[in-house]
Subunit: 395 residues, 2 copies
């Protein structure tokens, strides 16, 4: 669940030799019926995506980047030279970076059900001429992955060198290994889980309630600019707290006060800097995100449960052929290290090549997004090492 609103504004991409530079999004239109896991279907869908680097002749150097709840397809470079911020994983992806675009063909698409160009509840329902709203089919992590596969087929990718993602992106990465085992060579999942615990579901539920109880939600039937902005901002403010950590908030804001020379102000307006920061998080989010997409995607997160879906996590992982690296972060209390480690243990019990790395940070769940030479080194070496040759001894 990347904190897009918190990426530091840097110099324009053109001045940065490690940047992929100015990039453009494209739309993949799948003009055939698509049936969701729920049994509902759409006559077709669009995925907005970006690519960086070039697909090689063997068509086997592609890396799929999977975004988190509030992320999108724009993960590197800038859309214009004067963009204030680059894509959300620009620190990781670019020429010479850990995900090296001189070598790899990098693809990232806005997820099915999203609101940044891909088909989702804010898309127009051709049957009514109005946004789908909650008439949109329920979306699962597996639906997102199946839609991504159609995009990769369209792009001519023969094999994925790797699928990489954090948080919800990590769930997609695991699902990729299960759903298309012969297609993906390496799974790199960070700050994720094979299923959320009760606390994570609880936070998502409070966010959904904040949205759905906002009168402007109107049973999901609204136009974007007149939607449940208040509820969505509340949901985002709360969720943001869960993406960081007590220690990082204390370091960044502590109890510093706004204005009034740190004196005692008696007001319900902003007193503390952390309040101002949170309100900014809420306000900037409602200008770029759709409330119904927030409902759909948090439901997809809550419903993702490999043990439940396949009988056990080990059974879920039985088809996996890829090598897997899972990275947990010590200060992540949303999807804590234990849940990341448990994924690797289940893979090992299923007889797979998997390893776990834990990075000590105090930045919380969003650690996977932040600058870390340790993380870059892990990613780089995992991508560079040879994939295991799979020999079928059963012949």
């Amino acid at each position: 669940m990347p904190d897009l609103d918190d990426v530091p504004a840097g110099a324009p991409a053109v001045a940065d030799p490690g940047s992929v530079g100015v990039v453009a999004s494209r739309d993949f239109v799948h003009a055939a019926p698509f049936t969701f896991q729920s049994g509902q279907s759409l006559p077709g869908f669009t995925l907005r995506y970006e690519t960086y680097g070039e697909l090689n002749a063997a068509r086997d150097n592609a890396i799929l980047i999977c975004h988190a709840l509030s992320g999108d397809h724009h993960c590197a470079g800038r859309h214009a030279t004067d963009d204030r911020k680059p894509g959300w994983w620009d620190n990781l992806i670019g020429p010479g970076k850990a995900v090296d675009t001189r070598r790899f063909f990098v693809i990232c698409s806005n997820c099915l059900g999203g609101c940044v160009g891909s088909t989702g509840p804010s898309s127009v329902n051709p049957a009514t001429g109005r946004p789908y709203g909650i008439a949109f089919p329920f979306v699962t992590i597996r639906d997102m992955v199946r839609a991504q596969k159609l995009l990769l087929d369209h792009l001519g990718v023969a094999t994925l060198h790797a699928a990489i993602g954090g948080s919800m992106g990590g769930m997609q990465v695991l699902q990729w290994g299960i759903e298309y085992p012969g297609f993906v060579r390496r799974l790199l999942a960070m700050a994720t889980t094979s299923r959320e615990g009760a606390q994570a579901i609880a936070f998502n539920e409070v966010g959904r309630q904040a949205i759905m109880q906002d009168p402007a939600w109107n049973q999901g039937d609204y136009v974007r600019e007149a939607g449940p902005r208040t509820g969505l901002a509340i949901a985002r403010m709360m969720a943001h707290i869960t993406y960081v950590s007590d220690a990082s908030m204390d370091r960044k804001f502590g109890r510093r006060k706004k204005g009034t020379a740190n004196g005692d102000a008696y007001t319900f307006d902003i007193q503390f800097e952390v309040e101002s920061y949170l309100r900014h998080q809420g306000q900037s989010f409602i200008n770029r995100f759709d409330a119904n997409s927030y409902l759909y995607i948090t439901r997809a997160l809550d419903q993702f449960d490999l043990a439940h879906a396949y009988g056990s996590v080990e059974t879920a992982f039985a088809p996996v052929q890829a090598e897997t690296l899972v990275v947990g972060f010590t200060s992540d209390w949303l999807f804590p290290p234990e849940q990341n480690r448990a994924i690797v243990h289940a893979l090992l019990r299923a007889g797979k090549r998997a390893t776990y790395a834990e990075l000590a940070t105090d930045l919380g769940h969003d650690s996977f997004l932040l600058e870390s030479e340790d993380l870059y080194a892990l990613v780089r070496s995992f991508l560079e090492r040879e994939a295991a040759v799979l020999v079928d001894f059963s012949i």
Copy 2:
């Protein structure tokens, strides 16, 4: 911040020899002007309170119980024999219990600014004939304590044997030791802090925003039954998550689903038991709590900062004469053990008699409210040991 909605319903008090039995609340009316720390004032105020046990002839066996954010004065016994639940600290207070009402005269009052009988923003402003709303003076922890002192004077208490409280109640306990050092012999604070960190302020701010952004809040001008119930329920649902722990929620609910035989339901209605539980928490809270009181009391929590108010925590504690026991709980992530321990270290640096005890629980912040023989033993022995005789060596 006691979880009043979660106290198990037991047998009627009359069947429980350890219960104080059927109790009645009374009102203390202070009919003289009261000036708040903010400089604002009221012509007088009412505190609703309960007492259990008898004040002795020396008038020195009184114990003051200080409640937390969502608590009130009804901390033991039942108001009627068929009450579904006893007072919120009934497990701790009663004949033969850790706070033994055969020996002690126990007093608990609803805090100033509260909404359960004491004067607060939902009280009628005699100047307008309508509730004060946000015309009510800002309340601080120190204001609450000063009002309690007037009640104790009215009751004829000469010396407090102890002041006891958890969470916000613990803040009051610390303030008691600073404000009335010659009056209180023992301070027993649990699951508390000498000042909240940024994360706790952040959660309170999201709760306040949920209330204040609810159109029914109407700048604080509403009648109780038509108030911002939606916003208050959202605030409570979120806050409740912070009172418990990931582990306790997982043990209690895990990912169990409601109805539909644990199958995959595709709906934004309740799917998981934890969602149903949280909604119940929100709904039961709005029937017993006033949204403006929630704003005032969370502001009091956020503003409580002994280091800021007195220059340093050590300076704050300089006047303290009482012996202090602070109890932290390992799973409390709202006011974590470090913050509790830090109080004792500051007291020790200030040359005071203070000790810290840490109990291993996985129940989170609300651990102080729950049944624990370890906690009972700590409380009982702290109350029973002789207070230090304070000898002034400066003569």
